[in-house]
């Protein structure tokens, strides 16, 4: 099985689907094109599952491909998956068909119709797989920038009234980050060209190079700023609420659950593993920024009166936890952060999709326009509550394990860091439950009267998400078994190890 270029096939299937959709005759009915699209995404999912089953936990990078691409730069077309990459690729292939099913009619009235909507989604899926699988910095950069195109069109063509403005804002922020990163990408070429092996962009080669303190720190900053914008962290987060407010729920899911993970994925893969010295140097500042993101995002979520904006701000808060876990650089923090990326993807997807159902029914996303929905649509209210509870990391649901690991990792790193971060668990309860209270409880408001409950397609679309959230809450082992070895690798690359507990067997006298 390892001989075929499986990852290339995996990323080409959705891209092929996208091309097929584009060239379908104009008179093709929109339901047929939707079926074709979801067919491609399901095939991708099945292949993804097969690859996950064939993956050997702890076996390092697998399904590797390596073809020299641009010899002059040392750029390779190199793909491969470690545990973290596998987790995020799986997240991508799981979420795409779910988003399609949940957004079945969302693209009908957009700029390029349903066909265009689904085609862009498939293109985005393929490119995202490429981002997470790339083991060459240059290739990563190309995929990284390329993902902006489908998102731009999805937002600008299918969103709310302010969609064009939001799309441009998203683009400008991302481009800015990309440009800063580009400088570091160029820098990598320059530095690697000085080594005996000549210029290279292969991560495996670059991670062996000692860049020296100053150069390493500058290049670290270039990558870090781009990833902080992507993640997004305070103070470069403001594009996200605007974009989420105007995008369709499906687009927001792909954006926040999948694409934003590139930021935190990149921090581990490139910042930590290529520039360990610089990462340790930056740790105090990054930890403070991460805590600031946690609290700031949560406070802003409490103050939000618009549902997608609230969810977007909550993601700023959650990304703060992920970044915190990454930069405390111990097993608990890093494993927690890796796991958090996957779990946050699930829980935010559920929250965006279910609130999308709600907003579509009411024709408004303002919390103040709702009230008493539980009375008329109990299933909708129930799924909304479960999604919300997973966002607040209720034990028994998958985000709990990741948040606890990050919290404990932070505590091991510095009790102070944990003491501030932990305030996030109170704030999240306030914004989630207050939102639920205002939307779902109380007397049935005008405009909510007669609201239909969910239909079976809508339930069927989010059910797998909630099921996964529940199962992984009690049994996260399938994920941790691939994540832990990749965390070990990161830690050995960074050169840190876990501190010993204060009291060990020997010291405790009976």
């Amino acid at each position: 099985m390892n001989n075929a270029p499986w990852l290339t096939i995996l990323l080409l299937i959705p891209i092929l689907g996208s091309v097929v959709l584009t060239f379908l005759p104009a008179r093709t009915s929109s339901s047929l094109s939707k079926q074709v699209a979801i067919g491609f995404s399901v095939v991708t999912l099945l292949l993804g599952i097969a690859l996950a089953i064939g993956y050997e936990p702890g076996g390092g990078y697998q399904y590797e491909e390596d073809v020299v691409w641009i010899k002059l730069f040392g750029a390779h077309y190199a793909l491969g998956l470690d545990g973290l990459g596998l987790a995020l690729v799986m997240l991508t292939v799981i979420l795409t068909p779910i988003v399609m099913l949940a957004s079945w009619n969302d693209g009908d009235h957009g700029a390029w119709g349903a066909k265009g909507f689904f085609a862009w989604i498939l293109a985005l899926e393929g490119l995202s797989i490429g981002v997470f699988a790339a083991t060459d910095v240059f290739l990563f950069y190309v995929f990284f920038e390329a993902t902006l195109i489908p998102v731009y069109f999805l937002v600008a063509g299918y969103g709310g009234p302010q969609r064009v403005k939001a799309a441009v804002k998203f683009l400008l922020y991302s481009l800015l980050g990309g440009l800063v990163m580009l400088a570091s990408v160029v820098g990598l070429y320059v530095e690697s060209a000085k080594t005996k092996g000549g210029p290279t962009y292969l991560v495996s080669e670059l991670s062996k190079i000692d860049f020296g303190t100053d150069v390493g720190r500058w290049m670290f900053l270039g990558f870090f700023i781009a990833f902080a914008i992507k993640a997004p962290m305070f103070p470069v987060h403001t594009w996200l609420p605007d974009t989420a407010e105007n995008a369709t729920p499906g687009t927001s899911v792909l954006l926040v659950s999948v694409l934003d993970k590139i930021g935190t994925f990149g921090m581990i893969r490139f910042c930590l593993e290529l520039f360990p010295e610089a990462s340790r140097w930056a740790t105090p500042v990054v930890v403070v920024l991460a805590i600031f993101s946690i609290l700031y995002g949560a406070m802003m979520a409490i103050g939000s009166s618009n549902i997608p904006r609230l969810i977007a701000y909550s993601s700023v808060s959650h990304f703060g936890f992920i970044v915190l876990g990454i930069f405390v650089m111990n097993s608990q923090g890093l494993s927690g952060a890796n796991l958090y990326m996957f779990n946050h993807g699930l829980s935010t997807a559920a929250l965006f999709l279910v609130s999308g159902y709600l907003i579509r029914r009411r024709g408004s996303a303002e919390i103040g326009d709702f009230g008493g929905v539980e009375k008329v649509a109990p299933v909708l209210a129930g799924l909304f509550l479960v999604s919300g509870l997973s966002a607040l990391s209720l034990p028994g649901l998958s985000p709990f394990v990741s948040e606890l690991l990050v919290m404990v990792g932070a505590f091991v790193h510095s009790p102070w860091a944990a003491s501030f971060a932990v305030l996030g668990i109170v704030l999240v309860a306030i914004y989630i439950l207050w939102m639920y209270q205002r939307i779902m409880t109380g007397p049935v408001r005008e405009g909510v009267v007669g609201m239909r409950d969910l239909n079976s397609r809508e339930i069927f679309a989010v059910a797998p998400l909630l099921l996964l959230i529940l199962v992984l809450g009690f049994f996260p082992k399938p994920l941790l078994s691939v994540i832990n070895p990749s965390v070990d690798h990161t830690m050995s690359q960074v050169g840190t190890s876990d501190p010993k507990p204060a009291v060990t067997e020997g010291e405790a006298q009976k």
């Binding site: 600008a156 481009l175 800015l176 802003m300 028994g396 082992k477 832990n484 204060a502 405790a508």
Partner: protein, 644 residues
């Protein structure tokens, strides 16, 4: 470093044996109600007709399992009564491995009987109480969920497992307080309970962090082996963090404000969750962590002081309220205060904390269900000023309630007499001031409970027009009778110090200490203090008519009590108000400064892009151009580098 020597006694280590044949009932005890909850909540309307029966059946079966388990360990040596069962590895990273495991020992054994026994009775009672509610099936689903989570809490073998049950019961409590969601007050009370509990959870989260950082493990068995090696400061810190957690869940000062609001929930919920079981979880946590608290007298003192403050506050509130459920809620706060005080007294107090917890579970569940029965007969009125003379209209409720009343005030022979007396005795022995406060609290208890009895069941009727009080159906009164019997007979557990010996593998054996006065004398004094409280109440409320509307010209003490000692006012003034103002400011900051700053930097790009947009006659393509430009820049840079 070790405090062991000065304490002069042995701190028991958790060291469970294999479950063997007990494994099946141990798993079933949790799995049955969990299964019930799943069926009822996912099954939808299909289960409407028989849902409540399934709900009762699963808890009843769970009770049978608890009894089987209990009998099994009773037949064993005292040293062989800890049973462990590792189900699977929940998660593991680095050196931290958390098992999804169960620990069954004398402490959890008693809790199992209480939760499934009293819980089962309350399930049965709810069949009648919720009969006309169209969402009854869902109510039973939530109740089952609660029972499963509470069992998880007391059976977990690891602090993280406790966390699962801890928040699980919090969720069930949230769902049930807000069960009548269409009432805005209920929805608000539910959220408040959850959020304040989360403040307590800060303690549990950081506590888990500190325990792991200190010992490299969070399982009870491993931690209890290692605690003797840790420094006193660390142990005090862990103890205080666990105390914070306990304050949230058990409504202890300063996190008490949610409990009175929680009375918005249906009354069986108040009986089960907010009296008999969930709110005592904090006491469980402290007693379970005795291997930590035994090494820190500072944290123990903090526990005892918090308990004492709360027992007085709760009693004070109980004196001033006219809402029967809120009087009982204040009383619950107060009685849990007694338990927390006892837990803070260390080895000498742990067993009595648990003993009082069980007794309180019986008599308070009895009285809450009795209050529910009264409300059932008076069109859900809760204002005691609208009651009066109900003893004739509701004789069974009156009699059973009276048993609860006698038990809580500590009438000789009834439950509270045995359990509260013991706490007062141990408190007086260890710290006279705390002991005197506890003694005074007993007198106040006599006062407010007598006030409740007189206003509800005696005097002239002050019923609202159209209210015709009537006795509740059998399905409600039979559980009341069972609980009334338990309110009388519970004290048998203290026969020959049985409960103290039974719990000793968990709580340790206290060295004998002489109380300042002989125990019998103390008992007599306690009864006299209670009698004074009862007499005052009798003089105030029995010899004059009770006004139908609450008098407004009252002492500052009453006003303070009616306002729940200004806990909410304090929170609003110090946290909520400034928080809201801060939030408004923050929103402006985010839109103006942060976004403005970032977008200002980007405005140059925006201008550029605007021009490109014009040039391209289609702004959408401007990005493609941007990409092209980016690629060109890369090439250019590479060329420069290569050439240079």
């Amino acid at each position: 470093m070790s405090v062991l020597a000065e304490e002069g006694h042995h701190v028991p280590v958790v060291d469970p044996g294999a479950a063997g044949s007990m494994a099946l009932p141990l798993v079933l005890v949790i799995a049955l109600p969990a299964f019930g909850a799943a069926v009822l909540l996912l099954g939808g309307r299909l289960t409407d007709r028989w849902g409540h029966l399934l709900g009762c059946l699963t808890v009843a079966a769970s009770f049978v399992c608890s009894v089987i388990l209990f009998i099994t360990i009773l037949g064993r040596d005292a040293s062989d009564r800890q049973v462990g069962l590792d189900l699977w590895t929940w998660f593991s990273t680095g050196d931290w491995k958390v098992q999804f495991g169960l620990l069954y020992d004398p402490l959890s054994a008693l809790f199992l009987l209480l939760i499934t026994g009293v819980g089962g009775l309350i399930h049965v009672y709810s069949i009648g109480y919720m009969e006309h509610d169209e969402r009854r099936r869902r109510f039973f689903g939530y109740l089952n969920l609660f029972v499963a989570a509470m069992l998880m809490l007391v059976l977990a073998s690891d602090y993280v497992g406790v966390f699962l049950g801890w928040e699980g019961v919090g969720l069930a409590s949230y769902l049930l307080i807000g069960f009548w969601q269409y009432k805005p007050t209920a929805a608000a009370a539910a959220k408040k309970a959850f959020v304040i509990n989360r403040v307590g959870d800060i303690g549990l989260s950081l506590g888990v962090g500190l325990i792991f950082a200190t010992f490299g493990t969070t399982s009870f068995a491993r931690v209890s082996e290692l605690t003797s090696g840790a420094s006193g400061g660390v142990m005090t810190a862990i103890g205080l963090l666990l105390l914070l957690a306990a304050c949230g869940k058990s409504a202890q000062f300063p996190l008490q404000t949610w409990l009175l609001d929680a009375m918005e929930g249906p009354t069986p919920v108040s009986a089960l969750i907010h009296a008999a079981t969930m709110v005592t979880a904090g006491v469980y946590l402290i007693v379970r962590s005795q291997f930590i608290f035994e090494y820190t007298s500072d944290a123990r003192l903090a526990v005892a002081v918090i308990g004492t403050i709360t027992l007085l506050m709760g009693a004070w509130i109980g004196c001033a309220k006219d809402d029967i459920k809120k009087v009982l809620a204040g009383s619950t706060m107060s009685q849990i205060g007694y338990m927390v005080l006892a837990a803070g007294l260390g080895v000498a107090g742990y067993a009595f904390a648990i003993f009082h917890l069980l007794m309180h579970g019986f008599f308070k569940a009895n009285m809450f269900l009795g209050a529910g029965s009264v409300m059932h007969g008076t069109n859900d009125d809760v204002d005691m000023r609208h009651y009066g003379a109900l003893r004739k209209a509701m004789p069974v409720t009156f009699l059973t309630f009276t048993m609860g009343y006698l038990a809580i005030i500590g009438f000789p022979g009834f439950d509270g007499f045995w359990s509260k007396d013991k706490i007062i005795e141990v408190a007086l022995t260890q710290n006279v001031w705390l002991g005197l406060c506890a003694l005074f609290g007993a007198g106040v208890t006599g006062f407010y409970m007598t006030r409740l009895m007189l206003m509800t069941f005696f005097g002239k009727s002050r019923w609202e027009d159209g209210v015709h009080p009537h006795e509740s159906p059998k399905v409600m009164t039979i559980p009341l009778m069972v609980l009334a019997a338990l309110s009388l007979l519970g004290g048998l557990l203290l026969l020959n110090d049985w409960i103290v010996d039974f719990l000793s593998p968990v709580t340790g054996v206290a060295p004998h200490e002489e109380p300042p006065l002989p125990a019998v004398v103390l008992s007599v004094i306690a009864v006299l203090v209670v009698a004074v409280g009862v007499a005052i109440a009798w003089m105030v409320f029995s010899r004059r008519d009770v006004p139908r509307t609450a008098p407004t010209k009252v002492s500052v003490f009453t006003t303070a009590g009616r306002n729940e000692l200004y806990g909410d006012a304090f929170n609003d003034a110090i946290i909520v108000g400034p928080g809201k103002r801060f939030n408004v400011g923050l929103a402006a900051f985010d839109n103006g400064f942060v976004d403005g700053g970032a977008m200002g930097t980007a405005s140059a790009f925006r201008g550029l892009s605007g021009r490109l947009r014009l040039a391209q006659n289609g702004f959408v393509r401007s990005y493609a151009l941007g990409l092209l430009g980016g690629a060109a820049l890369v090439l250019l840079a590479l060329l420069v580098v290569n050439l240079g």
